[in-house]
Symmetry: D3
Subunit: 309 residues, 6 copies
C-alpha cells in the first residue's frame, strides 16, 4: 500500500549509515527518554549479554527452545515468582497455531499535540534524525526482535504497518513478530506473510494523529509493563512477557511439563484410570514410581538430543 | 499442563472403585442438592430408559441420527411446543463444522466462600469423598455425555480444564463434548484434540476461587435451564438443549427438512424459478405435486437405508 | 431450512412474469419510496449505463478488475475526493480471503408496526404485488448484484436468509454477495456455499417482527450512506461502497499501487535497505529512477495483458 | 455557543415568511421524501384533526392528560393491541422526574456524501430553500411538538443542538421536548433550561459530516418505527411512541390504573394483608366489592373534576 | 401498575393464614430445594438466634449500628478473613446516599421451561400452595429483610416488582431494601418510595418467561455466593454480603475507623502536615501518642452514648 | 478509611522538610523521568511564569476567569489552532454543575513488576525518598493544582484516594480537583467533600499491584497527551486540557460567546424570529447592527467590572 507515501516525502538516506548509533541520539530527542544507562539499571537482573542498544540479549538458543512454550507453562513459573502482571490477551491473532518468540523491541506513541511534537522534531534534527515516524523505529529492528507497539488501542489512524512495512519487519526480524495495542492495515496482504502478529483491530487508514514518543522505553500493553529485551512468547491465547532472569527456569520446567503431559495422556489413553488417579500427580505409589522413571528417562533423552545438535 | 498439580496433592484411589455410586453420596454433600428422586420427578416426561444416576438416556441410535441436525431444525419443533428458552450462543467454538451431540452431564460452581465450602467438604468426607473439585465431577462422565459447566462466565481462574483433562473428557465421553460458561486453558494443546467444545474465554490460570456446588443439578447456561439428560446439539451457531420427550419428533421432522432443502436447491439450481415460486412451499400446484412425490420417495429411501444398518 | 415456510403460504406465481417491472410498482407501495427519477437524479454523476431499474451499471469488465482491490486502495482515492464515509466494518466475514465485488442492490426493513404495514400491503396489492417480504426483494436480484440489507443490527428475527435463500441469492447474482446489518441463519449450510457474505450475527430464528420498507432506496450501513448501484468491494477487513464516478480512477490507481508494492517488497527482499530508504518513495535519486522505469514497464505489461483478453 | 456560527453564514430571512409552506417544498428536495399524501395514507387510522403539514394532531387536552402517564400504562394497552415495538430506552435523561409529552416531529440525518448532498441542495434551491441544516427543520417546529431526531447514534459531530438552539426549541414547542439518537452539546447550559430531553451522549463538537435527509418522514429510534404525529410520552425509564388511534384508550385505562394503584397502596398501608390478597386483584369477594365501589367513586370524581376545568 | 393483574387471576386467600409455615412446604416444591436443616448446617458459624425459617437473625441493634458502615469498612475485615467474594456492584442505585442494611432473603428464578414448571406447580399444589410467582416469595418477607433476587440479569420481563409491590416490600420489611440482578418497572412511582433499591435495569414489561426455582436458597449475585441471613450492606458504590459470624467484628472495627478518619481530617484541616505524616498512621511518636489518646477517648464516648440509648 | 494504613507503616517525617526540592530528586528515581529542563523545553511556548518545579504557572486571575468556561468554548479555539486531541470524557462526575479549573499536576502508575520497582525504590532511597506511593505525589500538590492520574483505567486496586486523602487533596490544592483514569474508594465520604472529581469507577479495595512511575511527566488520559501545567477545565461533559499559550485567547473569546448567547436567547425570547434569522449570526443587517452594538456595550461592561475588582 502506497497511500501514505505520497504525502510524506522522506530523505533519510543517512539513516542507514547511522545504524544502531541511532538509539543514543534518539534518546534525547524523544518525549519519553530512557537512556541506555537507565535501561541497564532497570534490567540489572539480566543474566545474559546485551545488544548494542543496551537491551538484554536472551540467547538465540533459548529463543529457539522457547518455541515449544505455551502460555500456561510461562504462567506456572511467573506466578511462583510473584509476577502476576506479565500476560496480555484480547488480540486478534494473525496465524493461530504459529508460536511467536523473540526479544521485545518497544515503541510508544501518544496522541498528537503540535507544541510538543515540534520540540521533539527540532531536538531530533539537532541529532541528525530528520524524521520521527513509525519507520524511524522500524528501521532499527534486529534479527530476533518482536516489535511491541503502544498505540493506546487506537483503531482509525492507529495502523502501525500495512503489508509493505509488515514485509520489511518480517525480513528485518527474521520473522520475529509484531504486537500492537492498536491496529494494522492491508490485512489481505499481511495474511500471506509468514510472521506472527497480534493486533486489536484492522483499518484502511494509515497511521496519523499521533506522535512517536519513545523507542525502547518501558511501555504498557494491557496489564503488563513491558521492558525492552523481555522474552516475548505468544500463542493462540495471548502473549507472555518474560523477564530475562526467568527464561532459563521457564524452559527447564517446561521440559518436565511436556513429559508429564505426555505420560498423563498415555495413561488416560489406556482407559483404566479415573482422571484423579493420574492427574495432577498419580495417587498410587506404584504409578508415582512409574512416572518418576519415565520423567527421568525422557529428560535424559531430551537433553542428549539437545546437546547433539 | 501440570501447574495445578503441585499445589494439590490428591489421594483418590478409592474413587475409581466407587464408580457411579458417587452420585447419591454427593447429592447430600453438595450445596445445591438434587437427589435422584427429584431428577426423576422433574424429568417425568422422559420416554426413554434412564442412566444409573437417574438421567434420561436418549438412545445411542438417536444420538447418532442427531449428528445431522442444525440449530434451525431444533428451533422449528421447540418453538411449536412453546419452548423458547432452549438455545444458548455467544461461545467460542473449538472445531467449527464439527457437530456436538450427547447427553447433558451438568456441573455447577459458585464463588468460593470458605464457611460454606468447609461444610460441604466435611459432608463429602462423611460420605467417603475426599475431595470436591472439577475432577470429582469429571471422573463421573460416561460415554455419550456432554459436560455442561456453569462457571458463571468466569475467565480468570474459571478454566474448567486444560489439555490433560480435556483429553480425559474426550476419552471418557467418547468425544461427547464440553460446554462451559467460563473458560479453558492450554488452547494450543486442546486445539489438537478431536472433541467439540464451546467456551466463553481462554486463560492461562488454573481453576480457583470457586467451589463445586452441584453435579447433575439443573443449571443455567445463558438463557437456558439445562436439565441433566437433555440432548445437547451444538453447531457453528450455538447450542440447543432438547428435552428428551421431543427428541424423536425433532429428528423425524429434520428428515423432511433435509429433503425439502435438497429439492429446493435442486429447483433453484435449474435457474427457472423466482425464489418465491419454490420456497417456502411451491406456489404452482404441479410443483407442489412434484415436491410431494419427491418427499415421499426420499423419505422411503432414508428409512430403508436407516433400517438396513 | 423450511421452518418459516409452513406459516407463510405464498402464491406469487405471477411475480416471475413481472420481472423488473416490479420496481416502479413497488416504489409507490413501499413506505420509503425512491422512484426511478429520484434515483437517476441523485446518482447523476454516474458515467456508465443504467440497469432497467435505474441503478448505475458499473460495467462487468470493471467489476472483474475490482476483484484485485483491497480496502486500502479504495480508501486512498476516496479520501482524496473528500469521501470519508464509504467504509463499513465490524462484520463476521463468511469466507475470509474471498473478495466480494458487485453492484449494490439495497433493501431496508424497519420495526413492524401493523397500522403502517397494513397500508403498505394494501398499496402493494393495488399494484399486483401480493406479498411484501424479504423474498419480494430477493426475487428482483440480477447477476452482478450484491444484496445490501439494512436490518438495523437485529439478531433475533433479523435473519435475512437461511441456506435455501442464500443458495438462491448465489445463483441469481452469480455469486455476487450479501451484506446484512442484521443476521443470517443456517450457518452450517451457508458455510458450504461459495458466495461472500458479511453479517453481524447468526441466529436460529427466521426473519420476523419487521416490515419491508424499501427496495433500492438509499440505506445506511454502519457509517455509510449506500446508494443503489454503488460498487461494493469487500475484503477481510470490511466493505467499501464506491460511487460509480470514482470506479475507473480507483482501479487505475490500484494498478500503480500493486506495482509499487511489488517493487517495494522486491527491494526489501534484497536486504540492503532500511525501510525508509525505499518506502513510501525511494530517497535515493538513482532508486527513484529505477522505480519509475519499473513502474512504466509493468504498467505497459498489465495494460497489454488486459487488452489482449 | 457560537462556534458553528462563524463558519456558516446564513441568509434565511425569507424562511420565516414561508412558514409551514416549507414542508411541501422540502418534500421534493429531501433524499427521503414522504409527501403529505403519503403521510395521510400511512396514518389513516388517526381519529383527530391534522396539522397543516399533514401530521395527526392529538388534541391539546389529551396531551395535557398524558402528562400523568407512565411507560407501564402505555405498555399495557399497546401490547394488547399487538404493538410491541413502540418503546425506546437507553437514553440519558436531562430532567428525570419531568414527564415529556407531545406530537412527534421527525428529522432524519444520514452520513454525508457530497454527490448526494449536492443534488439535494440544488433541489432545495429550486424550491427557494437556501440551506439544508438542522435549523431548516428546527425552524418548522410548532407548539406541542417533540423533536425526534435520527442521528444514528452519532456522538462526535452528532450534536443536534447546543444551548442556544435548545432554548429556541423550548420556546417554539412550548417546552415540548427533544429525543435524539445522537448527541447534544453545551450540557451545562442546557441543564438550566426547563424542557425534557433524551440523548445518547454529549460532545463539545458541533453537528457535521452528516446531511439532512428527511423532515417528518418515518424514522427509526431504537426498535421503534416513529411516524410523524405519534404521541410521544417520556418518563424516567424511556420513551413510548403512541399511534394516535390508541391515545384515548391509553388515557382512559390509565385513569383506572391510577385508582387501582391508589387503592392497592391504601390497603397495603393498613398492614393487614399479604400482597397476593390484594394485588393484582383482590382474592376475597368482599374486598373485590370494596374495590369496585372505590373505582366507580373515584372515576366519577376524576371525570367531574376534568369536565369542570 | 395493574397490567399484569388482568391476565393472572389469583385466589391465594389461604396463603395469609399459612404464614411462615410456607417455607418447609415450598422447600419440597421448588426446583432448587434447600431445607431448613441444610440452611442450618451451611450457616453453622452463625453466633446469633435464628428466624423461624431457619435463617440466622443478626440482632436488630447490630443492624441499626450497621447503618453507619461503608463498603470499605466491610472490605477491611472480610479481606483479612480471606473472604474476597462478598462484594457486588454495577447496579443502578435508587436513592444514593441512603445506606441499605438488613438480612438477606433470597429468591431465585430460572428461564421458563414448561416441563419443569408443571412439575413444580403440581408439587406446590400438593403442599397447599396454589401459585408459584414473585408474590409467593414477597408474601414471606419479614421486618428487617432485604429481598435479594437472582433474575440472571434479565431486563425485558425480568422486572421483579413495579411500584405497588415495591410499596408492599417497603411496608413488609420496614424499608429493608431490594437487590435484583434483573430489573424493575414503574421507576417514576418507585422513586417516590423511601426504600433503598439496587437493580440492573428498568423496563415497562411485567415479569414473565421465568419460573420461580428457589426461596431462601444460596444464590449468586455478581461474584458473590449469598446465603440466606447474610447481613446486607449497600452504599453508593455497591453491596456487601457479610456472613453473620463477622458482623460484630466489622462493626467494632468500623468504630475505630470512624475515629481515625475524624482525627486524620482534623489534622489535615490544621494545614501543618504532609499527608504521609498523618495517614495511614502518624509518623511522629508524639502524634502517635496524640492519636492513641484521641482514639481511646472517642471510643469511650461512643460506647457510653450507645449504652445509654 | 484506615484500611491501607495498617499494612503500610511510613516514616516520612523528613519529606515535609524537603518540600518542592523533591521533584529533581525524584526525577532520577522514577522509571519514566522527565527532568525540569525537559519540561521547560517541551512547554517552551508557555507565556507565563513557572512554578518552582518547572511547570507553567497559568496566573491565578486567569484560573478564576476560567471558571465560567464550558467545553464548547474551549473546543472553538483549540480546533482553530488544529489541536484536536485535548478533550477527554467518559468519566463519572462527582459534583455535576461545579466547574473544575486548575493547573495539571500529573502522576503515572504502571502495572507492578518487582524487578523494576526494586530498582526504582533503591534509586529513590539514594535520593533520600523513603517511599514511592500515591502519597509521595500527593504530598507535592500546590494550591491551584488539579491532580491528573494515569492508572490505565484500573478499577480493582486502582483507587488513587479514599475520603481521607481526598480531603487532603482538597485542602492542599484549595479545592483544585482530581482526574483519575482509574478509580476512587469511599464514595459516600467523598461525596460530602466540596472538590470536583472525575473518575472511571469506584471500588472498595485500596490502591495496589501498581508502581509509581512518574510525577509531572507527560501522561495520556483518554485521547489526550497531558503536559504538566496545562490548564484543566472540567464541566458536566468532560475535561479540556488547554496548553498555556492558548489560555488568554480562550478566555477572551469566551467573553464574546457569552454575550452572543445572552443576546441570542434574548431575541429568541421575544418570539418574533425563526432560529436561523438570529443564530449563528443575524441575517438581517439591522439585527447585525443591533448585535454589534450590544456586543460592544457588554464587553465594555465586563472589562470595567473585571478591572474594578
Amino acid at each position: 500500500m502506497i497511500a501514505s507515501a505520497r504525502r510524506r516525502p522522506a530523505h533519510l538516506g543517512l539513516l542507514a549509515i547511522l545504524g544502531f548509533l541511532l538509539t543514543p541520539a534518539l534518546a534525547s530527542a524523544q518525549l519519553i527518554s530512557f537512556p541506555k544507562q537507565e535501561l541497564t539499571d532497570y534490567t540489572a537482573q539480566n543474566p545474559f549479554d546485551r545488544l548494542p542498544d543496551g537491551r538484554p540479549k536472551v540467547p538465540d538458543g533459548l529463543i529457539e527452545r522457547a518455541r515449544g512454550l505455551s502460555s500456561e507453562e510461562v504462567w506456572a513459573v511467573l506466578q511462583e515468582k510473584g509476577y502476576n502482571n506479565q500476560y496480555a490477551d484480547g488480540f486478534q491473532v494473525l496465524h493461530p497455531g504459529k508460536t511467536m518468540v523473540g526479544r521485545a523491541f518497544t515503541v510508544q506513541f501518544m496522541p498528537l499535540r503540535s507544541d510538543v511534537e515540534d520540540v521533539a522534531k527540532a531536538k531530533a534534527k539537532e541529532h541528525g534524525v530528520s524524521r520521527l515516524t513509525n519507520q524511524t523505529a522500524i528501521d532499527m529492528l534486529q534479527p530476533g526482535d518482536v516489535l511491541i507497539v503502544d498505540l493506546f488501542g487506537k483503531k482509525v489512524n492507529g495502523t502501525i504497518v500495512g503489508d509493505n512495512l509488515f514485509f520489511y519487519v518480517m525480513k528485518a526480524t527474521h520473522s520475529g513478530g509484531l504486537v500492537v495495542d492498536g491496529s494494522i492495515r492491508d490485512l489481505d496482504g499481511i495474511s500471506e506473510i509468514d510472521m506472527p502478529a497480534y493486533f486489536r483491530a484492522v483499518d484502511p487508514t494509515p497511521i496519523g494523529n499521533v506522535m512517536l514518543t519513545g523507542i525502547n522505553v518501558p511501555v504498557r500493553i494491557g496489564d503488563v509493563t513491558v521492558m525492552p529485551g523481555d522474552l516475548v512468547v505468544g500463542d493462540r491465547e495471548g502473549i507472555y512477557f518474560v523477564p530475562p532472569q526467568f527464561v532459563q527456569e521457564v524452559l527447564d520446567q517446561a521440559d518436565e511439563t511436556h513429559i508429564h503431559d505426555e505420560w498423563t495422556k498415555k495413561k488416560f489413553d489406556e482407559g483404566k484410570y479415573k482422571s484423579s488417579e493420574i492427574y495432577g500427580s498419580p495417587s498410587d505409589p506404584k504409578l508415582q514410581q512409574e512416572y518418576k522413571e519415565y520423567l527421568k528417562r525422557r529428560l535424559d533423552e531430551i537433553r542428549k538430543q539437545r546437546s547433539s545438535r
